[in-house]
């Protein structure tokens, strides 16, 4: 686990890692660790509206992408560790280039509780220079199971989650995980 130990703080009762489980045979969460392998389910692509901001424009994209691997950074403008990770994201996005759909997505209710221009202002303040989009009903966050902020997710070209981890990462950590799906 390369990320900051987000869950380090806190009492840990014996039931911490257990869940009542799901319905219809689904089991509970497997936490925020490596998903690894090809056995994870394919995430059905959905449309994410992108925001007019540096490196981004008012448009829409499919996430996960269907023609290439995808990297998603889930953030919120209220989240200091998300701002802290921005320089690493910038470096990582430069290093992996166009081989991957590289996008930051806020789960804030853009259009209801915040405006696109507030997101763009935060983006400028934090030197964002790549695609930034909105997940105003948290549908993508649900599909990719965000378990803290920020959460980084790498999906391979078939739309399977190959890595998902919350916390502040270094550019090297992000690039390593992204390159792992590029090599496949």
């Amino acid at each position: 686990m390369g990320g900051a130990g987000l869950f380090a703080a806190g009492a840990t009762p014996s039931v911490f890692d257990s869940n009542d489980g799901g319905t219809g045979g689904t089991t509970g969460s497997d936490g925020d660790t490596d998903k690894g392998g090809d056995e994870t389910e394919v995430i059905e692509p959905m449309t994410i509206e992108t925001i007019d901001a540096p490196g981004s424009r008012d448009d829409e994209v499919t996430v996960p992408a269907t023609e290439q691997p995808t990297f998603v950074d889930f953030f919120g403008t209220w989240c200091p560790p998300c701002a802290e990770q921005m320089p690493a994201l910038g470096t990582a996005s430069d290093r992996v280039g166009d081989d991957v759909r590289f996008i930051s997505v806020t789960t804030e209710a853009v259009g209801r509780s915040v405006t696109e221009s507030e997101i763009a202002d935060w983006w400028i303040e934090n030197d964002g220079d790549w695609l930034v989009g909105a997940d105003p009903t948290a549908e993508l966050a649900a599909k990719l199971n965000v378990s803290a902020y920020p959460t980084a997710v790498v999906l391979d070209v078939s739309g399977r989650i190959q890595w998902s981890e919350s916390g502040v990462h270094t550019a090297d950590e992000l690039v390593t995980e992204i390159e792992r799906v590029l090599d496949r």
Binding site: L6, F7, A8, A9, G10, A11, T12, P13, V15, F16, D17, S18, N19, D20, G21, G22, T23, G24, T26, T27, G28, S29, G31, D32, G76, T77, W78, C79, P81, T107, E108, A109, R112, S113, V114, P136, T137, A138, E139, A141, A142, K143, N145, V146, S147, A148, Y149, S166, G167
Partner: protein
């Protein structure tokens, strides 16, 4: 008759009405089958237990919220949090309730569900702070089905949460976090109860549990 009394009588009427459905549910009090992992020995309520009857102020709406008032009315998703939570667990808990709130709105059953987020930290979590937090976290306060619950004091909350939910909260120094004097180490509990006040699911790892698992369980219960 004040609002609470009228809700109570509606609630009793609801109990009578649902009694007729129990046969359909095989005499069971729950919609969902017992979970794969038996949590009945855990300190918190679990499948088939009654949702503890608590009553706490919603400081934003300026009203008292009693879980019993939802009997016969609404399924309940309940969690415990505080806005200064430094480790990202609380936004993850709130995200799970918020996604269910979105799904309920899309499905047209907002009025059949209640989303309750109870703070450990009433000293800092005042009405304006909670309103800002709702806005940050994308919670919709307009639908009238979301209530932040704020005990009168830290001690009152601590006693209530421990006695009713087996949730032990202690104020601890937050030396490892800048700008934070104290924190409340806790585990992330989410409870799902049906509209008869019976717990359907407990998610003791509520911050990490699959969001779609919680939402699917919730949908099954609320539309049953």
């Amino acid at each position: 008759m004040n609002r609470r009394d009228s809700l109570r009588s509606i609630a009793s009427a609801g109990v009578v009405a649902t009694a007729g459905c129990l046969g359909v549910l095989g005499g069971d009090r729950t919609v969902l089958d017992p979970p794969e992992q038996d949590l009945s020995a855990a300190a918190h309520p679990s499948h088939g237990d009654e949702l503890p009857a608590i009553e706490l102020p919603d400081p934003i709406a300026g009203e008292e919220i009693a879980t019993e008032d939802f009997n016969g009315e609404r399924a309940v998703l309940l969690t415990f949090f505080y806005t200064n939570c430094p480790d990202g667990v609380c936004p993850a808990l709130v995200l799970r309730l918020r996604r269910a709130q979105e799904v309920a709105a899309e499905g047209g059953y907002s009025d059949d569900a209640a989303f309750l987020a109870a703070t450990f930290d009433p000293e800092r979590d005042t009405a304006p702070v909670l309103e800002d937090y709702a806005s940050q976290q994308g919670v919709n306060l307009e639908t009238g089905n979301w209530h932040f619950l704020r005990p009168e004091s830290y001690e009152a909350g601590q006693t209530l949460y421990e006695e009713e939910f087996g949730l032990v909260i202690e104020k601890a120094p937050a030396d490892n976090y800048e700008n934070l004097e104290y924190q409340f180490p806790h585990y992330g509990l989410i409870l799902l109860a049906n509209d008869r006040g019976i717990v359907e699911r407990a998610y003791p790892n509520g911050a990490g549990v699959d969001i779609e698992t919680v939402v699917n369980d919730f949908e099954q219960v609320v539309t049953a």
